[in-house]
Symmetry: D3
Subunit: 181 residues, 6 copies
């Protein structure tokens, strides 16, 4: 059976360990194509978060690693840089005059940046050493949608005609893109 | 001065015309690159919607017109096809196993489709005659972010390095893309 | 077992058909005393609406058909006229000075009217041809209470003394009214 | 200028008197047609309630006084009988099978009854001595709509045709009703 | 199984008795150390309150009885004095300049006082006769935390070092305090 | 003028600097009686947080420094240990059987602990070196109430009679306590 969110634990058997998570400051491997790794800490990993409207994550960046453009459909993100220097940014929504503004900054250890709910944003490690961030969300279940993967790597793929027209790209490039995701 | 949302009108001067909007069934020109046109009806156009948690829109599609992949960061969309036949779809969020599923269907006059909050979705007129839809949102101010425009057409543009890595595309193609938006 | 709202479907078995409803533009029979028919599209009929804060309906009107005065206790309604000409209105709540204002207008195909949450409203087809509307609600489960039926046709009936005093009507008329519902 | 709800007071000038209301247990005159009187205590009368999601009221009933059928469009009501014996009830919303159920009970001093949000309800003093209640609402601004007044006493009046059809009453009776409110 | 809040009753078997509670005006024994007694009326005692965002309580005070300093972590309280004279107050939260203001007043029968969500408050019967209050909360499940009991009477006890430092009290006094709760 | 929350900035003049805060990893002086220091990062310090339902803070602890027992009346706290070893805990609310349970643990660098909304909690540096934490709240404006200060250090002070009875302490000790805050 499924409910909106999660079932609760029996309050009689809850312990402090339901409210504690270990290892959020432990670097994770970024040995992948984008050179970055997101470690989620939501109610699945930390049951005490259930119903409380907040969740966490850690992001590791290898040298020149990228947390590629993505959105959180159900929450605002607040990211704190623990280590390294990041080129970050978000793009505002469509507006009758002058939307899709790109807000960007190079931030480093000890800086906090806000990515408002649902806006496309990314973080790019512009240094040749690892970087890492701690992330807070205004939701127990913010969700994540990586733009490139959801657009070009869905299963099954979106029609080439649609993507070719949307991105004004030759169908061959779309097919190539779909083959890489 | 600005508040969260909008200021209210003086209740003493409100009339029925603040609660009525005209012309939502009037076809609009789709003479543009994508061959589609969105007409919004939110509290700006229909003041009586203010504070009430719902808004509307109309979408016109020319022959083979596309409402390209986009998201609404603050609302769920329910779309009713008024005329024509549309190939529609949305992509689910990232999941540890098997996310980014593409849910798709060809729908036609009299069909309703739900696009859950924040998910990437599109509608494509697969007929050589005009099509049109009526749209409802679960928010007074759902917002819209067109993926291609926000990604490749922001002002100023996102760094070519970031987009090249995110989309695994040659920087020349990224630059070409950015030049077209 | 019952929860606030509805249980969710197993996400592993959800398909696009959970997000699509057919036939909202199909006229329905209005062969009844009021000459109108409401067809609901909420999470029962369209499971993909569950937890998303919005639902739909269609209203058919025969010639001079009436969707009689009613309220939605948990949602605002936005009604779009698809066909015909309707005399619509809502009445504001009690106020120390000058409440119970009747806001009214004759609207026709392509007009949208807002009925704010919980206010008494109605729609009357003033033409001798059928009319029809598409309705959006700011709630998954807005509910409907038809004033005349709930007041005079409840099961069991409300005491004649109460209704006679409330409506300042002779008890015989109240009894007659209760016998007709 | 108007905002959703009310502006706040300057926190520097707020005193305990903004959080205290006097006289809620003082009987009020019920010398009117219905023999009942509602005294509201919301943020207008008790500024400290602003933004806090709750408000209060007192209801006085003369002998056989009636708080006639009404709804609160934005809140649930909890009523505590302070004195006397009341015949109370509410009617459930329309349902495909068997809605508009009348839930009713005779309650007296020390009883609490819940009237869920937006449902039609009333309280009738069935004794020949005064009665009184204390009321709590789940909203800062629940609103009140007296069914008979909003239906037959709006300004301007609702069309006789609509009410005649809705209540299945002779137009003469409707006109008579409208003349009495 | 547990959900956020409570499971609902089967709507087919619900009766008016699920919406009625008896005896809220019946004095309760205050024969205990503090000379006060709280009687809760939430969805456990009055099932019809479930999901509706409001709950109730009664407080009895013996002569010089005290409802000791406490907080409600999930709701605002509105308290109506039914009988007697109370010295009541609440303390505002920390502020950069001048927080922890004590707002206080002597109130008596017929007075209403608001205790905003989460603030420390108390009520003290300053008369040598019983007093009583009726309480409304802006939440189905506001919760209660008695400051002295939670601080000095938890099970197991909080470390003496922590409390000694926090209250700037000799560890012997802390141990004495912990022994009395 | 004051609204619920804060006025918004003019969207035309907003820049990336409204979404960035510097120095959250910079140690702050803990040279005070409790040996700890809280640095808030809410919409006042980081305007981009306005309306987005989340805020941050940093806590510095000197050797054996204590963030004394306190509550956040409007939010859940998630605390991540950046450095050092903390003895932390929270106390559950009153319950008919067995409330005021003390949930406690010694946590260290890289651990996350959840303090649910409104519960009394504290953090104590049990090492002789500095410690520090990063904190996220599920609210733009969670507020903080330090138990000892609000109870014994309010301005003006709470009556000695009330505190003496509540804490079952000799009035002389209460007066002594009030003199130290």
């Amino acid at each position: 059976m499924f409910v909106n969110g999660l079932f609760c634990k029996n309050p009689m058997t809850v312990t402090i360990d339901d409210f504690v998570f270990h290892g959020i400051l432990t670097p994770q491997s970024t040995n992948n194509a984008q050179g970055s790794k997101v470690t989620q800490v939501s109610a699945t990993q930390l049951p005490g978060l259930n119903t409380l409207g907040v969740s966490m994550a850690r992001v590791d960046f290898g040298p020149f690693g990228l947390n590629p453009p993505h959105i959180h459909p159900r929450g605002t993100e607040v990211q704190t840089v623990l280590e390294g220097t990041l080129y970050v940014g978000f793009v505002t929504s469509n507006q009758p005059n002058g939307g899709n503004k790109f807000f960007t900054k190079v931030i480093s250890m000890g800086d906090i940046v806000v990515f408002p709910q649902g806006l496309i944003h990314f973080e790019f490690n512009i240094g040749n050493t690892p970087a890492a961030s701690l992330v807070s969300f205004s939701s127990q279940n913010p969700g994540t949608i990586t733009i490139a993967n959801a657009t070009f790597g869905s299963e099954p793929p979106i029609s080439v005609d649609v993507l070719s027209k949307a991105f004004q790209l030759d169908p061959k490039i779309i097919k190539y893109l779909q083959s890489t995701f």
